[in-house]
Amino acid sequence: MLTTERLGGSALCLLALFVMWESRRLPLGTWHNPGPGYFPVLLAVVLLALGGLVAFMGGRAPRVADVGWGEAGQALVILGVCAFICFGLERLGYRLTMLGALLFLVWLVERRRLVAALGFAAALAFGSFYLFDTLLRVPLPRGPFNI
């Protein structure tokens, strides 16, 4: 029975093992002179123990399937949009990227009318650019044609 705590605990154990593996090249040092690998390995050991404890005692937690993942689909879409923002930010510039991202979310995902969505997205994208880049002098990336 896959409960939330069993899943979470096991994931933490795996992460702990991963950290220990990745720290193999860092010198451990001694008790009196800890090296760069000392703390990561120590913490990984503790995490392994804690994660194991959580997984072991996790029989009574709710089942993963029962938690209700209804919003997960939309969450994935939003994550995709965020990834798009990251890729586009320095290539397309802030305003175009944000315009695209906001338009996508408001028009296609939330199904608002195109004209209203376009207006909303443009207002937010260009307005926030003005606020940050011009007023607050936070340099935001510009895209082709210096947009």
């Binding site: 209804g70 919003e71 969450a75 926030s128 002098r137």
Partner: protein
């Protein structure tokens, strides 16, 4: 005392000049704005406006920069309460209970309590700054690596009180946060740890991307796709102000938060971010209804918000009394002073009384201005909750991205925030608390550095922690706390076992 009053008079005569008032106001407004915007914190705000101050006089420059700093602490609570997005790292704790209060329809009350708590803390701490700056500064200097280590260890213990629910799960999250804090250049040896060749990870993941991701983006991910969108609340004017009960519940937390924040703020180092975490834990421990925490406890908003405001005044103590930067923000302000030809140092107060006392007086004025700015804005800000969530969350995502990008101008930070957002979402679904991760990520590099520095100082001898008075006291205090808790835990266990036979007897009767 008379001399202090005279000096204060001098200070007010400087601070109430129209030019100085204007710049203080500008600083406060920008600070509030910077605080409200998620991710962009006071450091980013001050750094960006530093060049703009070069043409001003020294007093105007420092008054404006200080205004940005403590103004940001006022504004930071706004997005935390309304949208569960931390305005800056110090407001993370307000997200928890502040947002819960908002969901219960008490957003106005939460905002008002945050503003008033900030005002009281800000004003009282300025008084303390004024009266105690030189002696306190000397004390603060005696905090070296062993003392830091002891203090931060106490901070870790605090983690145990931060969240309800399973202690084991909270600890596991804390350790996860500690591990995340290990990423980056190891200050003691020069090794790059877990950076995989990405130069931008050299300084670690960064508090801002982690906090904004785990709280802001994760919140959007969890809420946007819900079939029943969050209720659009239409708060009425009456409901904007805190009730009498809420006032009563916030008085002591504000007092404790003020004292705690100021003390933590004096200590050189970036420890002042921890002030809100510690305050939350203390309030939770001392509260008569600890189960309220996480569901909208007033103390969970009043305490941390007061703490982070008085910590900013505390941070000025070493800066003004000794000319020593107690963190990145005072460092920038010291640089601003240097550029204007004012050499910061122990003689600053003596050589530039007009500057010092004018600065202090303008902080009083600034706090008043901020209260006047923020309280009416409660009514305006609360209307943000009327916007349908389907339009609100794209805007939230946008602000999160800009806020995180603005800190370093780096897309890597935005990636980190997004990954942390996904992580935060999954952890929430699986029933794990995310706040300990943030605290762990902040504390890890500091604790490790303090430990290894101490060992470098003592050539490997662990005795240094006990032989130095301050660190020895702190460690003893921590040990006492742990022992007390163990005893009470055991005691409760024994009680429980003794009660069962009684219950059985009762039932049989």
């Amino acid at each position: 005392m008379v001399e202090t009053l005279q000096n204060l008079g001098l200070g007010f005569s400087v601070a109430l000049q129209p030019a100085v008032l204007l710049y203080a106001f500008v600083g406060c407004v920008v600070g509030t704005l910077v605080g409200v915007l998620p991710g962009v914190g006071p450091l980013a705000g001050i750094s960006l406006l530093l060049p703009a101050t070069f043409g001003l006089t020294a007093t105007n420059a420092i008054v404006m920069l200080a205004g940005i700093y403590y103004g940001a602490m006022y504004g930071g609570s706004t997005t935390s309460i309304l949208m569960r997005i931390p305005g800056e790292a110090a407001s993370v704790m307000t997200c928890i209970d502040g947002y819960a209060m908002a969901r219960k329809g008490r957003a106005g009350a939460a905002l008002a309590i945050a503003a008033i708590g900030s005002f009281i803390a800000g004003t009282v701490s300025v008084v303390a700054l004024m009266l105690l700056a030189p002696p306190l500064a000397g004390f603060a200097l005696r905090f070296g690596p062993p003392e830091y280590f002891a203090l931060l260890l106490l901070g870790l213990l605090v983690l145990a009180y931060m969240s309800g629910g399973s202690m084991v799960k909270s600890l596991a999250m804390a350790v996860l946060g500690l591990l995340l804090g290990m990423i980056g250049i190891d200050q003691m040896s020069g090794y790059f740890r877990f950076a995989y060749g990405v130069v931008e990870l050299g300084d670690g993941l960064g508090v801002v991307p982690i906090a904004v991701g785990l709280f802001g983006i994760a919140e959007v991910l969890a809420t946007a796709g819900q079939e029943v969108p969050p209720q659009v609340l239409k708060p009425k004017l009456r409901e904007l102000l805190p009730s009498r009960r809420e006032w009563r519940e916030s008085v002591m937390p504000i007092g404790r938060g003020t004292v705690l924040g100021f003390l933590i703020g004096i200590i050189p180092g970036s420890a002042h971010i921890i002030s809100s975490f510690v305050s939350y834990a203390v309030e939770r421990r001392l509260s008569r209804h600890p189960e309220e925490f996480g569901q909208g406890a007033v103390a969970g908003v009043a305490g941390p918000e007061s703490a982070n405001n008085s910590a900013t005044s505390g941070a000025f103590v070493p800066m003004l009394a000794l000319g020593v930067p107690s963190g990145p923000i005072p460092a920038v302000m010291l640089a601003a002073l240097m550029v204007h030809g004012v050499s910061p140092g122990p003689l600053l107060i003596k050589e530039q009384p007009a500057l010092f006392w004018g600065f202090i007086a303008s902080m009083y004025v600034g706090n008043l201005m901020l209260l006047a700015l923020n309280l009416p804005m409660v009514g305006i800000f609360v209307n943000v909750l009327r916007v349908p969530y389907s339009l609100l969350y794209p805007a939230i995502i946008m602000f999160c991205v800009v806020g995180v990008y603005a800190v370093n101008g780096s897309v890597v930070d935005v990636w980190i925030a997004i990954v942390m957002g996904a992580l935060g979402y999954v952890l929430r679904k699986l029933g794990f608390e995310t706040a300990p991760i943030v605290l762990g990520a902040i504390l890890a590099p500091m604790i490790e550095l303090a430990l290894r520095q101490s060992l470098a100082m003592s050539d490997g001898q662990y005795m240094i922690f006990v032989s130095r008075p301050i660190s020895g006291t702190l460690l003893a205090f921590g040990a006492a706390l742990v022992l007390l808790n163990l005893v009470s835990w055991l005691g409760r266990g024994l009680d429980w076992r003794r009660r069962i036979p009684l219950d059985e007897k009762g039932e049989n009767l």
